[in-house]
Symmetry: C2
């Protein structure tokens, strides 16, 4: 049974070096969850032949543009392409206001039921529970209120030995407070905007270095670490990967469009 | 001296058939004017090596998403890439509210002076006058308030025999009222969403057929006609072109990224 992640964007702030803006698609037993939605996410879904209409739940970690400017266009395209099935969006309360103002301006009434769920940004919270999965949000350490998310299988399908899990740590400075929430996940995505020589810049901008991401992975005893949200200054992300692997060997770089089996 | 247009997006409503969403870049003697800004416009500028920082004026025709969802991301990228020069945005009044709400959400204070100019949507109006160019807006016939724009050279440079001009008729049903405003322009861009067999659908959706666009071009005695805003149902736009040419032979299809010399 499928439990896999496809990264759609891996660059920080601006599109560069053929890398796009933050968006992750989790396939949990053919249920599709989109996490963050930078500008152009709908193009990336199309490019990799991933159906936007199969996405039922969208989680937005915070309101920096590189994490949500693609959402309004995606909602409109779902509408224009005839969606009828309901869609749930989870994000900071102000996101609903932003989406509604743009729908009002274009006099768009979505064809499909759209439900907005404001996140409680300041503590660990259960945001979704289904038969086979739970999704929790938890606070990160960023310039504006920002959540991470953790997806945990509840009743793993037969032939899968253990419940699988995926944690998404979007923009954040080094933050040991997240460790209890992401403890022992199968795959941890953690942002790694900078190399270690720019640790002071990272701290100042509430971002992490690759080594800091790897340190969190080690302390949380996760199985694998995925790095992304790379600064545009790094055309080649190999050196970030090397730094992280010096601390946590099971580290991999986000590669757009290539599904990762979470085992 | 350069007076040229680069189309960055030519599809209606959704990106499809390798065509992007509406955006035109006019180079008038090395002054750059962006007209409409669908999602992904910043990617298109980058793809065709066109500097976003050289754009000083942006005109938004109306608030359907395929014409402006890329603007907020472009303004942010200009900021993140260190722009200092002022930027002028012209559009429906509500656009300013939409942009400000998103900047407030991300706590972004732009590094560069940003001036918003609300358009008067209901009549012909001078919106910009410089030493060498005037820009007027004029009402189109669409479901929500929508403007066309006409750019006219005032004092053509030496060695250019006559003042050149470019008119942009964004989304509109067939509308003879625009003819006085676009009379004899060097290049008319007119939307051509549908073929003639869908004329009733076009009228119902406040869009035009290719033949209607060509009829306007003929009646306004323009020199050349450029078609775009093609419905996603047309993978090949050859048949739309053929229909238009049966009425107005000097018709060309929008081809993204290829500059058109307006002579």
């Amino acid at each position: 049974m499928n439990f896999s992640l496809t990264v759609l964007g891996s660059n920080a702030a601006i599109p560069a070096n053929n890398r796009n803006l933050s968006a992750h698609l989790l396939n949990a037993n053919e249920r599709f969850f989109l996490i963050d939605c930078g500008e152009g996410t709908q193009f990336q879904l199309r490019k990799y032949h991933l159906s936007m209409q199969r996405i039922k739940h969208i989680f937005i970690s915070h309101l920096h543009g590189d994490h949500f400017f693609g959402l309004i266009g995606l909602l409109h395209s779902m509408h224009l392409l005839g969606r009828k099935e309901e869609l749930h969006v989870y994000g900071p309360a102000m996101l609903d206001e932003i989406l509604h103002l743009q729908m009002e301006a274009s006099q768009t009434v979505l064809n499909y039921p759209y439900h907005f769920h404001p996140l409680r940004m300041d503590h660990y919270d259960l945001v979704l529970e289904q038969e086979r999965i739970t999704v929790h949000s938890f606070p990160l350490h960023h310039r504006i209120p920002t959540c991470g998310f953790v997806f945990r299988e509840k009743n793993p399908p037969r032939r899968v030995p253990a419940a699988r899990s995926y944690a998404y740590c979007s923009d954040t400075g080094y933050c040991e407070q997240v460790i209890p929430y992401i403890q022992e996940v199968s795959l941890l995505y953690h942002e790694a905007t900078f190399m270690q020589n720019l640790a002071a810049v990272a701290a100042d901008k509430f971002h992490s270095t690759a080594i800091e991401a790897a340190t969190i992975a080690t302390k949380a005893r996760v199985k694998k670490l995925l790095l992304g949200h790379f600064s545009a200054r790094y055309e080649d992300v190999g050196p970030l990967l090397e730094e992280a692997r010096s601390v946590f060997p099971e580290t991999y770089p986000a590669e757009e469009g290539i599904p990762i089996d979470i085992g």
